[in-house]
């Protein structure tokens, strides 16, 4: 048996598609919702990775702070050594040619009533290192 395929010639040019506003609105709503969800997902993902990046930076800063603290401690140790009375005494006597004053060379004075006296300020004890 032979088969012949025929194609119907359909002319839809005069067919006018009826616009359905409800349908369009519905589509717009769906698309908007989808976009919003996508945006939220994007923000969540961005925030998540940004947090991880900040954590890296935070740990890096903590490490820097710890190193700075150690350096500070080493420098304080060096300062304490440089301020040793024996060292200063040797410098004063041998390099600068200074000697201790004899008793009569130091003359106490009566201060005027409103005099401001300079005095050594005691060093601050640093807070306990954590």
């Amino acid at each position: 048996m032979s088969e012949f395929y025929t194609v119907k010639q359909i002319d839809n040019s005069r067919l006018v598609r009826v616009v359905a506003p409800n349908h369009l609105r519905e589509c717009a709503r769906v698309v908007s919702l989808g976009a919003l969800i996508a945006l939220c997902a994007f923000l969540y993902a961005w925030q998540h990775f940004e947090t991880i990046q900040l954590r890296y930076e935070l740990e890096s800063l903590r490490s820097e702070r710890a190193q700075a603290g150690e350096l500070n401690q080493e420098l304080r140790l060096e300062i304490a050594g440089l301020r040793a009375p024996g060292r200063i005494d040797v410098i004063a006597r041998r390099e600068l040619g200074l000697t201790a004053p004899v008793p009569g060379q130091v003359a106490p004075m009566d201060l005027p009533p409103n005099a401001v006296v300079a005095e050594a300020r005691p060093a601050d004890v640093p807070a306990a290192q954590q």
Binding site: L77, P85, A100, P122, A128
Partner: protein, 707 residues
């Protein structure tokens, strides 16, 4: 005829597999199956295998490390650090990672200046972990790290450093490699100073970069603030070293104390050591002689004898004692004075250090009362100082005293004392009769909170009356002005004290040695308002060996500098014609070089051994005559008011009007005062007044109490 069926197919007719719709459906079905497989796998991994993968992830990403805090610091009273901890590197090996241990050992040994065999032995001692060396100096750690040796790693540990080196070494103590205190404050307060490690939970990524951490903070320990002043400590150590050098003594001690509060401003011992290299020092150099060494005080103990007698009213400073031309017999034993004295007043007995005079006074006092006063002065028991290893001294119980004991103890033999006990006893004279516990810890500091030691709550204990103490101060001044302690006289300050030259007991012969002596001087200044008590002891000086010859000058040098440093107002004028200015450069002796003192480098401080001769202090320059300094007077001397017979209120008003500080003892009417009426004193000086009831002024005068 053949029939042909023609069939026309119109779209929409019955479908078959080759139609597009069917293909779509098939694809959709495959997609759905694939999606279901993916979700199923996802569900399997996330739900079924969750715990397994979670634990594996935790194991890979989590690190828990101990976070060590530095050992707390020790400061002097002005918050200058004396002991600090700094992180340092310790090198360790992971032996199974090292391909050529011998080469590694050679390279590291060169840096550390250690035989390569030693390093190789350490590497071979374990398969997975072996210390190479702990707490390296920074430059050596850098050199090893620069070699980039496989299998060699570093770990940070706390290293203890003492930036002032030998300064206050015996008080501070030292620590071992694990920062455990082994002496001094480091030992006695180890629990407080030691820090407790914390823990840190770390999250690391695949590259082992940390991206999160949570830490349980370490407990940093409690900082200790001492009563020591590093400058005064340096003065004491410097003058002690000078005295040791001048006298070639075997050992020595200098103590500087605030007699009113018991705060120890300086505790210097020789031989000394460097706590940075304590393990390299001789054990005898680490002994805190101030607290733990016993000696027979000799003539210094006459202070106790006479204080007890005067306090009991058995004698007075002006009573004349027959010193029997320098010899006395007690229980068959003959005791001789160093000079043949005839009649001496009690003041002169003390000034000239007459043993015979002291023995007679002691015999008059009697053993029970004498023993009571000796115990009250703190002998035979620990002072309670917050240093480890304090000796209680040696005092025989009263029932064990022999007939000769009173005599011996009166002149300072047959009793063992520590330098701290002697200092505390003399401080009681200085402060008006109160025994104050000597202490070296001022306060603790933790963060922003400060607390005082519990022992500081102990109130002082009266041992003699205030007037007795005042009388003793005058008598001790006589020792300096006219007696054996002339070399202790200060410029610009009154001073008082007592010399001592005690024979050491020789265990080989069982007798007192004739050539090994302990020379000492203990005194205070200024007299009217003592600011410091200074104790000097020299063990077995060669050549000149008496306390007045070798210890008194050291007292003078220490006291002069400390009083100037503390800005204590002078109470006697300095003679203008004696003023000199030293402008000559310091002579270049074998003294300290700057290279010894510059650029403190941790763990490089040279060790001090007992055999090392202390660096001689550079020779004092020849003074150059300078024009006298014009001194602006603080106020001329004024005569002490006569307060005898006055009531407490009247006496107080009279003192305050004259700018004097009244020290009032008792109630009623004034019957005694010190200084005496008419004596030259200065504004701000203390006047001690004894009041009593039931005894009129007239009767007190009749009994000779009032002249």
């Amino acid at each position: 005829m053949r029939h042909t069926t023609v069939r026309f197919r119109v779209p929409g007719d019955q479908m078959d597999l080759q139609s597009p719709r069917k293909r779509i459906m098939i694809v959709a079905a495959l997609a759905a199956i694939w999606t279901a497989a993916v979700f199923g796998r996802l569900a399997y991994l996330q739900l079924y295998c969750y715990s397994d993968y979670y634990s594996r992830a935790q194991h890979q990403q989590r690190l828990i490390v101990d976070v060590g805090a530095s050992r707390a610091e020790i400061f002097d009273r002005n918050l200058h650090p004396l002991a600090m901890s700094v992180p340092v590197d310790s090198a360790f090996a992971v032996p199974f990672e090292i391909a050529d241990p011998d080469m590694v050992a050679r390279l590291i040994g060169k840096v550390l200046d250690v035989p390569a065999d030693d390093i190789a032995t350490r590497i071979a001692s374990s398969h997975s972990f072996a210390w190479i060396v702990r707490k390296l100096p920074p430059e050596k750690a850098e050199r090893i790290a620069a070699m980039n040796l496989r299998g060699i790693y570093f770990q940070r540990e706390g290293g203890r450093f003492y930036p002032k080196r030998e300064l206050a070494a015996h008080v501070l103590g030292y620590v071992d490699i694990d920062e455990k205190g082994l002496g001094g404050i480091e030992y006695s307060l180890d629990d407080a100073i030691r820090s407790k490690p914390g823990k840190m939970l770390i999250l690391a990524d695949a590259h082992r970069r940390w991206y999160d951490s949570n830490d349980k903070a370490p407990d940093a320990g409690t900082s200790v603030i001492l009563t020591l002043d590093e400058k005064i400590q340096y003065i004491a150590e410097k003058e002690l070293a000078q005295a040791i050098h001048d006298t070639q003594a075997k050992a020595g001690t200098v103590i500087v104390e605030n007699p009113n509060s018991g705060e120890l401003l300086a505790v210097a011992n020789w031989p000394t050591f460097n706590p940075n290299a304590a393990k390299d020092s001789a054990p005898e150099s680490r002994v805190d002689r101030a607290a733990s060494s016993l000696y027979e005080p000799g003539s210094v103990f006459k202070i106790v004898t006479l204080s007890a007698a005067i306090d009991q009213g058995i004698t007075t400073p002006d009573e004349v004692i027959d010193c029997q031309n320098g010899a006395i017999y007690i229980a068959g034993h003959r005791i001789r004075d160093h000079k043949s004295y005839g009649n001496l007043t009690v003041s002169q007995v003390l000034a000239n250090s007459s043993d015979v005079g002291a023995i007679k006074i002691g015999l008059r006092l009697g053993a029970p009362k004498f023993y009571g006063y000796i115990s009250a002065f703190g002998f035979g028991q620990p002072t309670g100082v917050d240093l480890p290893g304090e000796s209680r001294g040696k005092l025989r119980r009263l029932e064990n005293w022999t007939p000769v004991s009173v005599g011996s103890i009166s002149m300072g033999q047959e009793v063992g004392v520590t330098p701290l006990q002697m200092t505390a006893a003399v401080s009681a004279i200085a402060n008006g009769g109160l025994i104050v516990r000597p202490h070296v810890v001022r306060e603790f500091r933790r963060g922003n909170q400060t607390t005082e030691p519990q022992e500081s709550q102990q109130p002082p204990r009266r041992v003699i009356r205030a007037t007795t103490a005042a009388a003793m101060r005058r008598m001790l001044e006589g020792v300096v002005l006219e007696g054996t302690g002339k070399k202790a006289k200060l410029e610009g300050y009154t001073s008082a004290g007592k010399t001592g030259t005690a024979q050491k007991y020789d265990p080989d012969t069982g007798r007192y040695s004739t050539h090994d002596l302990i020379a000492s001087f203990v005194g205070f200044a200024p007299i009217s308002s003592p600011a410091i008590t200074v104790y000097v002891q020299l063990d077995s000086p060669a050549g000149a060996h008496e306390g007045g010859q070798v210890a008194a000058p050291a007292f003078r040098r220490v006291a002069q500098q400390v009083l100037a440093y503390l800005d204590v107002p002078r109470d006697v004028p300095v003679a203008g014609e004696k003023l000199r200015a030293s402008r000559a450069p310091v002579a270049n002796g074998k003294g300290d070089t700057l290279s010894d003192m510059s650029d403190f480098a941790p763990m490089q401080a040279p060790a001090a051994t007992a055999d090392a001769v202390p660096p001689p202090v550079t020779a004092r320059p020849e003074p150059v005559v300078a024009p006298p300094t014009v001194e602006i007077a603080e106020g001329d001397g004024i005569p002490a008011p006569n307060l005898l017979g006055k009531t407490v209120r009247d006496a107080t008003e009279a003192c305050l009007k004259m700018g004097l500080v009244p020290v009032l003892v008792g109630t009623g009417v004034a019957t005694e005062q010190s200084p005496e009426p008419g004596a030259t004193i200065r504004r701000g000086n203390r006047v001690t007044v004894q009041f009593s009831r039931g005894e009129s002024f007239v009767s007190a005068a009749a009994r000779g109490k009032i002249k």
